[in-house]
């Protein structure tokens, strides 16, 4: 059996002394797309931030393995350089830093750490043109400060654009589909679908089943109260759409 790309083992996580994740187990193989669904406050965002290395979250027990190695002591930038990408639920505005400058810095920092040549200005522009077309992002936005004054949809599109530019091995999308109109949603889905590859995995965290009409997941997990209470195929998402989460909460309570 090959090593999974991502393995979360009995993960317990606290913020300010309150435990939010109570032993999460998850295994994602390269080439797969997994969806994590759950109610508000179930710990979905916490899980994504812990994998990315947010300093405010404390791991009290368990481990996160990436390509078979524990990453929980690694800095966020080291994880990014190793190929882990988190698309933020609420993309951060960075006034005064242009998208282009930021992306070039990020891309070259990642390339440098992998021992690859930094991209020249011209090579970078070529790549930008190619990827901007892919995610249908307005070129005007690229020259503006990162996310500053962007609409909700533009911010999410920008996250997908960064995803396309940085081409990570493990892409985690934290509610990237929330609050999007159908056009923006399709753009996000098209972006993800076009990037599916045998060496790459996706972890889609979502509140709504709708996204999964456009992206076919290999597995769906339900996270409730800080635990994964059910895993299944695409049908599980349809079941949730139909029946809501209450039956799973009851099941979890009686288990």
């Amino acid at each position: 059996m090959t090593t999974p790309l991502l393995e979360v083992k009995d993960l317990h996580v606290s913020v300010d002394g309150t435990e939010i994740l109570h032993g999460v187990n998850l295994s994602v193989a390269a080439g797969e797309v997994h969806a994590i669904m759950g109610t508000n406050g179930s710990g979905k965002s916490t899980l994504t931030k812990v994998i990315a290395g947010h300093p405010d979250y404390e791991i009290t027990k368990g481990d996160v393995l990436y390509k078979g190695k524990s990453i929980i002591e690694d800095e966020p930038e080291d994880r990014a350089r190793a190929g882990i990408f988190l698309a933020f639920q609420y993309p951060v505005e960075v006034p005064g830093v242009s998208n282009m400058y930021f992306l070039r810095s990020a891309l070259n920092a990642q390339r440098k750490s992998r021992g690859e040549e930094e991209l020249s200005g011209a090579q970078f522009i070529e790549l930008v043109k190619e990827k901007a077309k892919l995610v249908d992002i307005d070129q005007g936005l690229l020259n503006r400060s990162v996310n500053e004054g962007f609409s909700g949809g533009e911010k999410k599109r920008n996250e997908i654009f960064q995803l396309a530019m940085l081409a990570p091995t493990l892409a985690i999308l934290d509610e990237t589909d929330s609050g999007l109109d159908i056009d923006a949603l399709k753009t996000v889905a098209d972006g993800v679908n076009s990037m599916r590859a045998t060496e790459r995995a996706f972890l889609l965290v979502t509140h709504y089943q709708r996204l999964l009409n456009y992206i076919q997941p290999d597995q769906v997990h339900v996270l409730l109260g800080g635990r994964i209470v059910k895993s299944g195929g695409k049908d599980l998402a349809l079941q949730l759409e139909e029946k809501g989460y209450a039956w799973l909460e009851e099941e979890a309570a009686t288990a």
């Binding site: 930038e77 960075v94 006034p95 400058y101 990020a106 960064q162």
Partner: protein, 436 residues
């Protein structure tokens, strides 16, 4: 205390008068009058409201002798020159004109650029203009008027567009005893004229030094003046400056005060929008480190209707440095249709850095649009995390955000070579950034 201090400057004054060359009687009278004025006013202390956050002990407790001329080489000056803004330059070393370092190509008719010392006796009208704009009551203005040795005199005739920047460099070198110099700048922009003036205050020495400068800028009707003051002193230097801007009908003055280095610096900007439709933009940046102390006091006085004023002051303070901002907007009775905006943002990079901010509005009429705001804080941790998640290391992320914060002021500078030079300086200061 006050008596001792004033006696100390009395000694400086006596020494200076002895050292000065012959000058017209009206200048000597102006000096005597100003010194009497200073003697009566005394040095401000923290008990004065306008000085409560800036302690002048390091000036009050030191015996300063008038700074003497010194040799400075082109090589020493080179790091402070600005490519593209040095075709016309006036260099003063320790308050004395350095002809060898200055450059003044053929100037168009109607443009006068001279050391003040050379025009005091001429018919340039200085007798009327010198010291007539800056109010004589601030103690340091009085002290400068008594003690000034030289400085730049710039006058553009009516309708003359001077697009080449004029760079004035006030250089200080080390001396055996603590020395002081008093640079004096007078800029007169005639009706519908255009001027771009850059003042650099440069410290080449490390010993205690006091620089007390006064700059007066007069923009006649419809004139446009872009002004940048660059502070690049060393930590031994106490720098006090008074910047008087007199803006007449439909004229525009844009002045940037960029504080890169000084042990202690206090800048007063006093802008009078003296006629209808006068406009000014007063922006400033402080980049404090070590134990540096910067204090920027701004007063914008809207005297007549339909004036606009904009202020954006930002400070980045690291280590144990400190930044003070006090900005007052006065809208006089009858100054209807005034639009005045003021913004002060402070970024604290260390636990020991300190910021004080005091925005003030005094409005005596109804029909005005005024806003002001002040913020103080640290770098946004979520923004740092976001950048790190994209692969930038923490130092790079912090530097990028700091650069961006400061650049918000720099990017408004519309003397291109100066803006480009400052971007380079900031890139070096906040190391780890990609060169573009």
């Amino acid at each position: 205390m006050t008596t001792t201090t004033n006696n100390r400057f009395a000694h400086t004054y006596t020494l200076l008068r002895k050292a000065l060359p012959d000058e017209p009687a009206w200048v000597s009278e102006l000096r005597d009058e100003a010194f009497e004025n200073f003697r009566a006013l005394g040095l401000p202390t923290v008990k004065h409201e306008e000085w409560r956050w800036t302690n002048l002990k390091r000036i009050a407790d030191t015996d300063f002798v008038p700074a003497e001329p010194a040799e400075v080489s082109e090589e020493q000056l080179a790091p402070y020159l600005i490519e593209g803004a040095d075709e016309i330059r006036l260099v003063f070393v320790n308050g004395h004109f350095a002809a060898g370092l200055s450059k003044s190509p053929a100037l168009p008719d109607g443009l006068v650029i001279q050391p003040i010392s050379r025009v005091l006796g001429s018919d340039e009208g200085l007798q009327v203009k010198l010291g007539r704009f800056a109010e004589p009551t601030p103690p340091f203005v009085a002290l400068n008027t008594a003690l000034f040795t030289d400085g730049a005199y710039i006058r553009a005739g009516n309708s003359l567009p001077v697009e080449a920047p004029i760079h004035i460099l006030y250089v200080s070198t080390d001396s055996d005893q603590p020395a002081m110099s008093s640079p004096r700048t007078l800029v007169l922009a005639g009706e519908s004229s255009e001027l771009r003036v850059v003042e650099s205050f440069i410290g080449l020495g490390v010993k205690p030094r006091f620089v007390n400068s006064v700059t007066e800028i007069v923009a006649k009707g419809n004139a446009n003046v872009r002004h940048v003051k660059l502070l690049r002193e060393t930590d031994g230097t106490s720098h006090v400056s008074w910047n008087e801007l007199n803006v007449e009908r439909d004229a525009n003055v844009v002045s940037h005060s960029i504080n890169l280095d000084a042990g202690l610096a206090r800048n007063d900007v006093h802008a009078v929008l003296a006629a209808e439709g006068a406009n000014c933009t007063l922006n400033g940046l402080v980049l404090g480190r070590d134990s540096q102390h910067f204090d920027n006091h701004i007063v914008v006085d809207h005297v007549r209707p339909h004036g606009t004023s904009n202020q954006l002051y930002r400070a980045v303070v690291d280590d144990k440095s400190r930044s003070v901002f006090a900005g007052k907007v006065i809208v006089r009775q009858g100054a209807d249709g005034t639009d005045a905006q003021q913004q002060n943002n402070n970024l604290l990079l260390s636990d020991d850095a300190k910021v004080d901010t005091k925005p003030q509005l005094e409005i005596y009429t109804d029909d005005v649009k005024c806003s002001h705001g002040a913020t103080s804080g640290q770098l946004d941790p979520e923004a740092i995390f976001f950048l790190r998640c994209r692969g930038l290391d923490e130092t790079h992320a912090r530097n990028l955000l700091t650069y961006a914060f400061a650049n918000d002021v720099i990017e408004h500078i519309r003397i291109d070579p100066v803006r480009i030079a400052l971007e380079k300086i900031m890139t070096e200061r906040f190391a780890g950034l990609l060169g573009e």
